[in-house]
């Protein structure tokens, strides 16, 4: 019974993280897998969604809930939330509306970050772009730590708990809500990839010259791809902020850029199903490592968390060398493209 309970708790906890990563990975897959834009700075959009949601959440919750106070929404955040949270837990409908509002804010923030990141992305080739975006990724942590009105500087800020209506079942309800959002986005992304828009993105990835010759505006499509991918990353950042109800300007490149890349790499780039598989594998693996690492505490003369880095680094390298196409290969929608490819090679 105890073991079962533990397994259930583990899975429910896992599902929340899985949902957040699935959304990010879908966003990354649309940029890298479908369009071929190596966005090494998805941290930029994720942090944008998380920090802007966190910064606006208390400020917006106060007038919407009709709470009058002279306290400062950022620096006296904890005292304000003692007023806000009880109201939220007794007004589930308002709380859910706020949840949706914050999701929209996160998505909008992500889209804006995407628009900013697209400025270099439409000009530069692969490697310059990757370097620039990697550097971009860190910028919001700097601003978050330096500009206190955003999220209160290094100590961070707490968010109103918009999932508090579930009461003692908050832990389960939160995972369920996150999973629901992720499933909707997964289905939507699967649909978008099959639309003419998605096929155009793939055409640009496979042969830019041909796509241009067919009258497609490459710049327009690349920008749209980054903005759409960043929109999803922003939503994921916002979800993560609402789930953990606290945000500090310390979102790390390892967690929010390297892991998503590893996930889409393992799953197979360009495939929506592969993204799902890759996310499930890496999130579970990562969670198991963090869960079991305490078994090694005291045995090894170092913090066991670093084994995580060793292991994931080695796994990525092995995949790159032995199975770069990932677990689920991208399926072409018609037989036509491959036939055309051979023809063009011969011609």
């Amino acid at each position: 019974m105890d073991a079962l309970n533990l397994a259930i708790l583990f899975t429910v906890d896992l599902l929340a993280l899985f949902s957040v990563y699935l959304i990010i990975d879908i966003g990354l897959n649309i940029q890298q897998g479908i369009t071929g834009i190596p966005n090494f700075g998805i941290l930029f959009a994720v942090a944008g969604g998380a920090y802007i949601t966190a910064g606006l959440s208390t400020r917006l919750a106060l007038p919407i809930l009709g709470i009058q106070t002279n306290l400062d929404p950022i620096s006296e955040n904890v005292s304000i939330l003692q007023l806000v949270n009880p109201v939220l837990s007794s007004h589930p409908v308002t709380a859910i509306l706020l949840f949706v509002l914050f999701l929209i804010i996160g998505g909008a923030a992500g889209t804006i970050m995407g628009l900013i990141a697209s400025a270099p992305a439409i000009r530069l080739r692969e490697d310059y772009l990757a370097i620039t975006l990697l550097a971009f990724g860190e910028i919001l942590n700097v601003i978050g730590a330096g500009y206190t009105p955003l999220i209160g500087g290094p100590p961070g800020v707490d968010l109103p708990d918009v999932l508090a209506w579930a009461g003692e079942y908050r832990f389960y309800a939160a995972s369920f809500v996150l999973l629901l959002v992720a499933v909707i986005i997964y289905a939507f992304a699967g649909y978008v990839i099959k639309t003419p828009f998605g096929r155009t993105l793939k055409a640009i990835r496979d042969n830019e010259t041909v796509a241009r010759a067919l009258g497609k505006n490459i710049t327009h499509y690349r920008t749209a791809s980054i903005m759409f991918g960043s929109l999803l990353c922003g939503i994921a950042g916002s979800l993560w902020a609402m789930y953990s109800t606290a945000v500090t300007p310390t979102l790390a490149r390892f967690d929010w850029t390297f892991l998503p890349w590893l996930m889409i790499l393992i799953g197979g780039m360009g495939s929506n199903k592969g993204t799902l598989v890759g996310t499930a594998i890496v999130v579970t693996l990562n969670k198991l490592i963090t869960y079991y690492k305490y078994a090694f505490v005291g045995i090894l003369p170092f913090d066991v968390i670093w084994l995580n880095y060793l292991l994931l680094g080695i796994i990525t390298i092995l995949i790159l060398i032995y199975r770069p196409e990932g677990i689920v290969k991208e399926t072409s929608q018609t037989r036509q493209p491959s036939a055309r490819k051979t023809a063009s090679k011969q011609g």
Binding site: P38, L124, Y128, A145, L265, Y309, T316, P324
Partner: protein, 304 residues
């Protein structure tokens, strides 16, 4: 208000020498292997910990770590080349895959460095984070010795590289492998070995730069990652296709970073210092806007 003071100039020259050394390695590896080596961050950090470990175990002078750091990180570079990049190169992996590879090497090495740091603390009972060795530095003309050693090392590395590339058979083979690997292979140059040598040299230079860091600023396992944006920026500003451009880029970025920050802070207020990490990005963006073709459309990178 004094805009340019002696300490500012000393800070600028020292920082620029570091940046140039780091960028030199990045540019060299980019020229030979056509990959942005994100693991350069860890290379630098390893160099720093080599120095620190030697001073802890043998209580030697910090500068004695220089040649050791060169060899250690050079060998790390060699190992990475043969175990990761060479197999990928043989598979004709796309650039993005190579970049993910260097990113994962960086993650792997970050793990190793942190384990080493924890090990130092647990076994030798010494601090292994926020280390500063500048108290054991010498003084020359009233300035910290690191200023002269950093500039001297930069001059030595540049001169060494120049002599190697221009006046030796090995250097000519190296340059041939950079310019046209297929042709070099066809006339019997072992291109793979040439690339391996470039990884040894590039890694070694990064190690030397890292080895000097504890004498200049506080070292912790993230120091390389913190400097990564700046070193890449220096490398790009200098022009990735020109090895010696890295030095120009380093000094230019150092000027903006050190002098720019201190001057702006004295004009606008101390809050400016918070945003110092953003400066490389602004310089990077400005360069890319002013010279997008010079940076994006380099013929050397274009695959046929």
């Amino acid at each position: 208000m004094e805009l340019i003071s002696i300490p500012t100039i000393v800070g600028w020259l020292t920082y620029s020498a570091f940046l140039s050394l780091m960028a030199l390695g990045i540019t060299l590896l980019y020229r030979t292997t056509k990959v942005a080596n994100f693991a350069h961050a860890s290379f630098v950090t390893i160099g720093a910990y080599v120095t620190y470990t030697l001073t802890v175990i043998f209580s030697s002078n910090p500068y004695a770590g220089l040649p050791v750091a060169f060899c250690v990180v050079g060998i790390v570079g060699l190992a990475i080349f043969y175990s990761v990049l060479e197999p990928l190169r043989r598979r004709n992996s796309p650039t993005v895959m190579l970049m993910i590879a260097t990113l994962s090497i960086d993650v792997l090495l970050t793990g190793v460095i942190n384990i080493h740091a924890d090990y130092l603390t647990n076994i030798y009972a010494v601090p292994s984070r926020n280390i500063l060795l500048s108290s054991s530095d010498f003084k020359f003309l009233g300035q910290p010795g690191i200023l002269f050693v950093a500039l001297g090392t930069l001059a030595l590395c540049t001169a060494g590289l120049y002599v190697l590339l221009n006046f030796t058979t090995l250097g000519i083979a190296l340059r041939a492998s950079m310019e046209n690997p297929q042709l070099a292979q066809a006339i019997g140059i072992n291109v793979s070995m040439m690339l391996a040598i470039s990884w040894f040299i590039g890694g070694g230079i990064a190690g030397v730069a890292g080895a000097l860091i504890p004498l200049w600023t506080e070292v912790n396992p993230a120091i390389g990652t913190i400097l990564l944006a700046s070193m890449f920026c220096a490398s790009i500003v200098g022009g990735l296709e020109q090895i010696y451009g890295a030095i120009l880029g380093g000094f230019l970025l150092g000027l903006f970073d050190v002098v720019g920050t201190s001057d702006l802070a004295s004009i606008l207020g101390p809050w400016v210092a918070f945003y110092e990490p953003v400066i490389p990005l602004i310089v990077l963006s400005a360069t890319l806007v002013l010279a997008p073709r010079g940076l994006a459309g380099i013929s050397i990178r274009r695959k046929k």
